[in-house]
């Protein structure tokens, strides 16, 4: 009788165990996402299979909403050889150190009364300024935590639409296909910026977050190590070294098939160098310097612009070129000296970034002077 009872107990235990195993395995390998925020994307304008989770989740990299600024000449918080992104609206010049942007990637704020987003993707080395009001009503950008070909995908917190930073447009959701209205951004080193614009404003480390902005979040040699790429490259292009910086011109509505042209910063020579070229049938002017580590581009659209005979100027920073009328122009295309002071050239649709990223985004990319 004892054996019978033990056998029964053993059998019951086995049945219970099997049932438990079934339940355990049934509950295996599950995943879920929920919450009050998120993306609202049914269809993507980019290959969704290449959209990857970067790790930190939506807004896991927190954007800066209330940046504070200080006068550049009185700020000694940043390393001279590390880069900044900078924009100019009217007389307001703002610099955004990569040391800070590495950990936030997006700044939502106002400049000269305009709602401006400055975004920076550390992996592709691209900084983009966006006029939010001109782009789409009510948009406010956050870091989606997703990447497409190593590049930041932003999202609009109000609609959940997604925006490809390097395609300069929304790629999913309510605003899919909408181009971002860009604001020209230049990049250079902090040391160079201080020399060029000592009276400008620079974003301070007082971001509202207690962070150490002196570290290299992506490693001290990420910006120069050509082998250090975090996510796979789909379209490898060996015409240049991967981390060589190029200034690229793009048409509106850029996508993978678009004609894009790249100008390596190394093509600009050590002093200020002007490059006159044609892009998409239009005359364009590029200004840059390999030593100063900067480049910008302009469309010569108006009769005034087309008639200008611009020459590169060295040793007069922030003036980088002068015209036949005696106007001195800065890297943002503003006449800051001369009879036409206050006038500005029309910025081209372009930005500076790592070669590997541009070539990966735009496989048909044309290389200047090739």
């Amino acid at each position: 009788m004892l054996i019978t009872n033990q056998t029964k107990r053993s059998a019951a235990a086995v049945i219970l165990g099997l049932a438990a195993i079934s339940l355990v395995f049934a509950s295996c390998n599950v995943s879920d996402s929920s919450g009050s925020g998120g993306l609202e994307v049914d269809e993507w304008l980019i290959n969704e299979n290449e959209v990857v989770d970067g790790g930190p989740g939506i807004d896991g990299i927190p954007s800066i909403e209330n940046p504070t600024f200080a006068t550049t000449s009185s700020t000694d918080d940043f390393e001279d050889n590390r880069r900044i992104a900078a924009l100019r609206i009217g007389d307001e010049l703002r610099a955004y150190p990569h040391q800070i942007m590495d950990q936030h990637e997006i700044v939502n704020h106002q400049v000269s009364g305009r709602d401006v987003t400055l975004s920076f993707c550390p992996l592709t080395g691209t900084s983009i300024g966006i006029d939010r009001e001109q782009t789409a009503s009510g948009v406010e950008f956050g870091v989606s935590g997703l990447l497409f070909r190593n590049n930041l995908i932003m999202y609009d917190r109000n609609t959940g639409s997604t925006w490809s930073q390097m395609q300069l447009r929304s790629v999913g959701g309510e605003f899919a296909g909408t181009d971002a209205e860009t604001i020209q951004v230049i990049e250079t080193t902090w040391g160079q910026w201080k020399e060029m614009y000592p009276d400008s404003q620079v974003m301070t480390k007082n971001t509202g977050f207690n962070r150490n902005y002196d570290i290299f979040v992506y490693g001290s040699d990420y910006t120069t190590n050509h082998n250090d790429i975090l996510f796979p490259i789909k379209n490898a292009d060996n015409r240049l070294q991967r981390k060589e910086r190029v200034h690229a011109l793009l048409p509106p509505g850029a996508n993978e098939e678009s004609d894009v042209k790249a100008y390596p910063l190394s093509n600009f020579g050590p002093g200020i160098t002007l490059i006159e070229d044609q892009f998409m049938g239009e005359e364009v002017l590029l200004v840059g310097s390999s030593d100063l580590d900067l480049a910008s581009s302009f469309q010569l659209e108006t009769a005034f612009e087309q008639e200008l005979q611009l020459e590169a100027v060295d040793g007069e920073l922030p003036i980088v070129m002068r015209d036949q009328h005696g106007n001195g122009w800065d890297i943002f295309g503003y006449a800051i000296d001369g009879p036409n002071q206050g006038q500005r050239l029309t910025a081209a649709r372009g930005y500076t970034g790592y070669w590997f990223a541009l070539a990966d985004f735009y496989p048909g990319i044309e290389l200047y002077n090739e």
């Binding site: 053993s10 970067g54 917190r157």
Partner: protein, 333 residues
């Protein structure tokens, strides 16, 4: 006798499975960023010929703190936790040689965007995690005439867990949200013990383990990802409080090298952690015991910017089945 053993094995297996289910249903997993507990929970070596030790451990690892090097910074916008259920089976093949297997079920939760205007989002993954199989050999057993105990071991960590879980939109979670690593690892283990009998019931131990990690393909073929090698050293002091209650005070040093992708070190991975781990053992019967444990981070020096353990709590239940005595089932009847 054989029937008796079979019955014991069956019952113990079922108990283990049930425990795993209940723990897993409530929660579940390990995190690559901090405190993967697979190596840290190994019991102490050979159990004696024919002895079978079952252990079930549940661990909750809160990973909120954010560190740059050794500097803690604020992290109000994100929160993570990892819950792990570990099942360890340890069998004494001979008096000196034992085999053990540790299996895991893990649940990882990541909440981001806390306090951000767009609202927050929580992502969760859960599933069977990786497992470890170890052979351990006691070089020098403790006895009345020898106060030292030395054991060594080696084995493998098997990629039982999924490393390709997707979110509901079909997008693959990052490696640190996956239940498994997808790679076979080599595991090396050693333990040194010293007691002070008959002067004192206190004893000290030093347990070291090392995981030599393997490589897993991540997004596309040829895109190799390798978690950093892991070294854990635990220095512990234990003593009895009563006949049934004892305690351990452990200091754990854990070091991982940076993850590698295609042989390039990945940023924000790898570091060193020093953790205080107080344990309380309660012998609930001749064959069963319970361990309650906590983890208090003392120091960390992390590469780049990384979340790290804020605290961890765990509870373990052990059943020791000695073949030379009456069985557990019989004893409880």
């Amino acid at each position: 006798m054989l029937q008796h053993k079979l019955r014991l094995l069956t019952s113990a297996f079922c108990l283990t499975t049930i425990s795993l289910f209940f723990a897993g249903a409530a929660l579940s997993q390990t995190c690559s960023c901090a405190g993967a507990p697979l190596l840290g929970t190994q019991s102490a070596g050979a159990t004696g010929a024919g002895n079978l030790l079952f252990g079930v451990t549940y661990e909750f690892n809160q990973i909120t703190n954010l560190y740059t090097g050794s500097e803690q910074i604020t992290n109000d916008s994100a929160d993570r936790n990892t819950q792990s259920t570990l099942v360890e089976i340890n069998y004494g093949i001979t008096d000196r040689l034992s085999a053990s297997g540790t299996f895991s079920y893990v649940r990882k939760q990541r909440t981001s965007g806390i306090g951000i205007p767009g609202g927050n989002q929580t992502s969760t993954t859960a599933g069977i995690g990786d497992g470890i199989a170890l052979l351990r050999y006691t070089l020098l057993p403790q006895s009345l005439w020898n106060r030292y105990h030395i054991a060594v071991g080696g084995g493998v960590k098997a990629p039982l867990g999924s490393s390709s879980l997707n979110n509901p939109n079909g997008r693959r979670f990052n490696a640190d949200m996956q239940p498994g690593t997808g790679a076979w690892d080599g595991v090396f283990w050693s333990s040194l013990g010293l007691n002070f009998l008959p002067v004192s019931t206190a004893s000290i131990s030093l347990t070291n383990s090392f995981r030599l990690t393997g490589t897993n393909e991540r997004f596309v073929e040829g895109d190799d990802y390798r978690f950093g090698n892991e070294f854990i050293s635990i220095l512990g002091i234990s003593n009895t409080i009563t006949d049934r209650i004892s305690y351990n005070i452990n200091t754990r040093y854990r070091s991982t090298s940076s993850d590698q992708r295609n042989s390039i070190s990945q940023p924000n991975t790898g570091g060193k952690w020093v953790t205080l781990i107080p344990d309380l053992y309660i012998s609930t019967s001749e064959r069963t015991s319970v361990k309650l444990s906590g983890q208090i981070p003392l120091y960390q020096d992390l590469s780049g910017l990384q979340p790290s353990t804020t605290y961890a709590l765990s509870a373990s239940f052990f059943i020791n089945i000695n073949s030379s005595q009456n069985t557990f089932i019989h004893a409880n009847n």
